[in-house]
Symmetry: C2
Subunit: 254 residues, 2 copies
């Protein structure tokens, strides 16, 4: 992290003192301070301090920690509840300013609520992740999808069933509350009802209408995890591959 901070503009988050102490121990010897935001739990119940009071305490701890700079507040909000974000962040910002600190950034995020980000106006930065592609989980919110998985029908073992060469090692098992493992573009009556690792099972109520060798595009449920399954993404405009993007960060787990 310290080596990386010397190359790029970098900010991290913390929601506890153990992480602050650990970061400080490393960055106390660094020429440049590390920017640390306080992660806040505004209702999604992942990480984050549970109260504005706790946020102010940690902001104070960051400022006092050698090698660290207080960067502001950060949250991943609960879906459909911008009011919670606004209430938590206004209160936290007020408390932090009372102890003489500046809250230069209030960062929120989430593609699902991106178009209502303005309803939490205290937000100064918004992080939409899935938005670069969109996916099936966002179609119901009126978005287009840029990412598809190109598959080939390898078997039609029954009249109402076809098997494609994409299974859980491409589409993943993420459901995100949806029925089935993706949407077969142009075939609205076909369901992807089961995945094995290398195969997807497509079913229809009647004749499925697909032939072995036929290619079908699948809009995945969750773009983020699907892109992580492949070494490269092909950029296609008007049926031409105009670029290949390597997925450089996949598998980079320490």
């Amino acid at each position: 992290l310290r080596a990386l901070s010397e190359k790029v503009k970098l900010a991290v988050v913390a929601d506890n003192r153990i992480v602050i102490d650990g970061l400080s121990a490393v960055f106390a010897r660094s020429e440049r301070a590390l920017t640390v935001l306080v992660e806040c739990n505004t209702g999604a119940d992942r990480c984050g301090v549970v109260s504005p009071e706790n946020a102010a305490e940690l902001a104070d701890a960051i400022v006092k920690a050698p090698g660290l700079a207080f960067g502001g507040l950060m949250t991943y909000p609960p879906t459909g509840d911008a009011a919670s974000v606004q209430a938590f962040m206004v209160r936290a910002k007020t408390l932090i300013e009372k102890i003489g600190l500046t809250v230069s950034c209030v960062s929120s995020g989430g593609t699902p609520d991106m178009m209502s980000a303005h309803t939490a106006p205290i937000t100064t930065e918004y992080r939409p992740g899935t938005y670069v592609y969109n996916d099936r989980s966002l179609v119901s919110r009126g978005n287009d999808c840029a990412l598809t998985v190109l598959t080939t029908v390898v078997s039609t073992p029954a009249a109402n069933r076809a098997i494609v060469d994409a299974g859980s090692k491409i589409l993943t098992s993420d459901l995100l509350g949806l029925s089935g493992y993706g949407h077969v573009l142009g075939w609205p009556d076909i369901a992807i009802d089961q995945l094995s690792e290398e195969h997807g099972r497509l079913t229809a109520a009647d004749e499925i209408g697909l032939k072995v060798g036929q290619r079908v595009k699948i809009v995945p449920n969750h773009a983020c995890v699907v892109r992580n399954m492949v070494d490269a993404v092909y950029v296609v405009i008007r049926h031409q591959v105009i670029a290949t993007w390597p997925v450089v960060a996949r598998g980079k787990i320490i």
Copy 2:
């Protein structure tokens, strides 16, 4: 496939004539015939011909196709139903032998039923995939697990909750009928109740008892897909890393 067949012993399966024709078109010009087994649906309803009669027809088609050699029968069986495998394969083998062909291999598989493979005695080859590691889905069958995911607690945002640095991009969303996304070794009362991409959420009924910075090992639900998420597997004997195995085939999707 043809280039590969010149380097290694290779056999593939087919459950339809389109695939047989495609393989034949390529291997008709090859010096060495490609071994093709007929894939049979013995109840798992993935790929495979649906009847022993269809299996015999395809065996005949393979033998008559230039460049191909008939290698036998193959199935991925339904869990807990070796009787179906035995019945289908005996009938298919009999029909195929009637047209003068030899069924040199009857291949079945599946780790869950590995220890009852002998109850389908027509089987000559058994393919247990998960067995090399085992996983949480097999614990109930009395197996040990060799594969664990080493994680670090990064946050304890509430008394009964902890967050580790392993999410769906490591553990995957595969449930395989289980409750939760893995088993925390040594902490039987802790559940992994939710994954985001980089985080796993651990919950307990009361105090969770974990500290930020603490390392915990997680036995994943499904070893096969978890190993596919990382670039390397560390082989540990008595707390010593004695080897690093690269996962060379991950992401190798054409």
